[in-house]
């Protein structure tokens, strides 16, 4: 038996066991969607980090660094700040307010915070979540396809189908608790990969100096933060494009639910410290995996996003490479499962329960949630399968950028200002969501606009301006919910 399989099978077996164990604790919709708000700080924090970092972290980002060099560290710096701002300014007020208002989901929170009787905030939130998460989950399934193809030579579609089957199975079994607990294991595995692989790689190459020499031989731009680009305006564009990844953290429902699910508000302070510790420990290494790949394998990989599995199999004995590749699978699964839960909660809690107010039993809602999970996964699977194989070599990176920008720009400004600025109005929040979503879609389809300003930055700033401007010209509601300040 191929020793690579042992590591991978071991990992998949553990994930399914956790799903089965967690299923015993699940009796209501609250349990399925938020784990009954009983996560401790370690599980909440590492789970938030593991869900926040998807296939993008161990496939997309190393792939981009492989192609561009150290300039990809702009993204890493932006991400560090995004995570810090989110844990510092959103986590605590959101947990407190959502519990006080009885909000299970982000659309719930918006509706209750702005006392929205028109249901428009809920409807727009639902559209944003369902549209962008379908792309996001599809990107994760592509991740599974790439990992299994790069490692075992599977057909791309077979890899996608296997990845989808395992994620859906344990999400169905255990709901939010299974997802949060598997995230903890997956988050720790991701750190191990991001720390071990670059260190082993640089040692294997012959030390840091030889590593730098080899990169320099590929072209001087690989070692520069400017990416070898000349001119202040161009460099500004490179820096903003990278740093603007940070904006997205403020509006990702699958991360925000981690704040809402923690046992006590006070534990979020500790959670923030743990999450930032994870970030500082793990994030420096992910782009280095791509750079080690460039120094080790040369610049001619057909698909740069397969650089991480290739580096692992080149450097490590089979069983250990299998564990590392399981780490990349972990990155993909920990995100896809959390997103399936959010999309499920949108369909069941936000649409069915809140809009139709059915007379039904908790166990029936859990069953409906499971059906909704299958439905969302089926749509994402169709999207992934019809997209075909990656022609450009940056499919995960680009698809995630699109979904990330859409969610961050639609929800981030409305949420941040809703929590901290009493003057934010229902109309302002609605304008911010619509403008954030529209700007992302317009920017995505316009090369000319993207050349002026990066999509992630542009969409966020447009949405932020819309919330402020519209709030200032409209009258605040009677504001029964108040703000989190």
């Amino acid at each position: 038996m191929n020793p690579l399989w042992i590591g991978l099978f071991l990992y998949l077996g553990v994930m399914l066991s956790v799903g089965i164990a967690a299923s015993r604790y699940m009796r209501s919709l609250d349990d399925f969607v938020l784990g009954g708000r009983r996560l401790g700080p370690w599980v909440a924090a590492i789970s938030e980090r593991a869900s926040g970092e998807s296939s993008w972290f161990l496939l997309g980002l190393p792939g981009a660094a492989y192609g561009l060099g150290f300039t990809e560290y702009w993204s890493v710096i932006g991400i560090g700040f995004g995570i810090l701002v989110s844990w510092t300014f959103i986590a605590i007020p959101l947990r407190r307010e959502s519990a006080r208002l009885g909000a299970l989901t982000l659309p719930d929170y918006f509706e209750l915070r702005f006392n929205d009787r028109t249901r428009l905030l809920r409807l727009v939130s639902m559209v944003v979540i369902l549209v962008f998460y379908t792309f996001y989950v599809a990107a994760q399934l592509h991740g599974a396809g790439k990992i299994l193809k790069g490692t075992f030579g599977f057909e791309h579609t077979t890899g996608i189908l296997i990845g989808a089957a395992v994620v859906v199975l344990y999400t169905l079994l255990g709901g939010f608790l299974a997802v949060a607990w598997t995230d903890l294991i997956q988050g720790l595995m991701m750190t191990a990969v991001a720390v071990v692989l670059p260190i082993v790689g640089i040692a294997y190459i012959g030390g840091f100096d030889v590593f730098v020499e080899r990169l320099s031989a590929q072209g001087p731009g690989y070692l520069e933060m400017s990416g070898g680009k000349v001119g202040a305006a161009v460099m500004f564009g490179v820096a903003v494009g990278g740093l603007s990844w940070g904006f997205g953290y403020l509006g990702q429902p699958h991360l925000l639910t981690r704040y809402m699910a923690i046992r006590k508000t006070s534990e979020l302070r500790q959670g923030g410290l743990i999450a930032m510790g994870w970030t500082l420990l793990s994030y420096w290494g992910a782009p280095l995996i791509g750079l080690v790949g460039l120094a080790l394998l040369g610049p001619d990989l057909a698909d740069p996003e397969q650089v991480m599995p290739l580096v692992a199999t080149t450097l490590l004995p089979g069983w250990l490479a299998g564990m590392m590749i399981a780490g990349a699978t972990a990155a993909m699964m920990s995100t896809a499962d959390s997103q399936l839960i959010v999309a499920t909660s949108t369909l069941v809690e936000d649409i069915y329960v809140r809009l139709f107010r059915p007379k039904t039993t908790p166990s029936r809602l859990v069953m409906l949630s499971r059906l909704a999970t299958i439905a969302v996964a089926a749509v994402a699977l169709t999207l992934a399968l019809t997209a075909g194989e990656d022609q450009s070599g940056g499919l995960i990176y680009k698809t995630v950028a699109y979904a990330w920008s859409g969610l961050g720009a639609s929800f981030g400004p409305a949420l941040l200002l809703g929590l901290w600025w009493r003057r934010t109005t229902f109309q302002g929040a609605l304008a911010g969501m619509v403008c954030g979503m529209a700007a992302t879609i317009v920017w995505k389809n316009s090369a000319a606009l993207s050349a002026v300003l990066d999509m992630k930055a542009a969409a966020f700033l447009i949405s932020l301006s819309a919330v402020i401007a519209v709030s200032l010209v409209t009258r605040p509601s009677d504001d029964p919910a108040g703000t989190g300040v």
């Binding site: 710096i77 560090g80 510092t88 070692l223 520069e224 933060m225 979020l268 410290l273 970030t279």
Partner: protein, 33 residues
């Protein structure tokens, strides 16, 4: 290795670590249920 690259990457990590500790202090009195 260009000095600016090292300075940016290492410097930003130090800044982030310091800000993390400041954030922990900032939320000292805010985290009560």
């Amino acid at each position: 290795m260009p000095r600016w690259t090292i300075l940016w990457v290492v410097g930003s990590w130090i800044v982030l670590a310091v800000l993390t500790l400041l954030a922990y202090r900032f939320n000292r009195d805010r985290g009560h249920d």
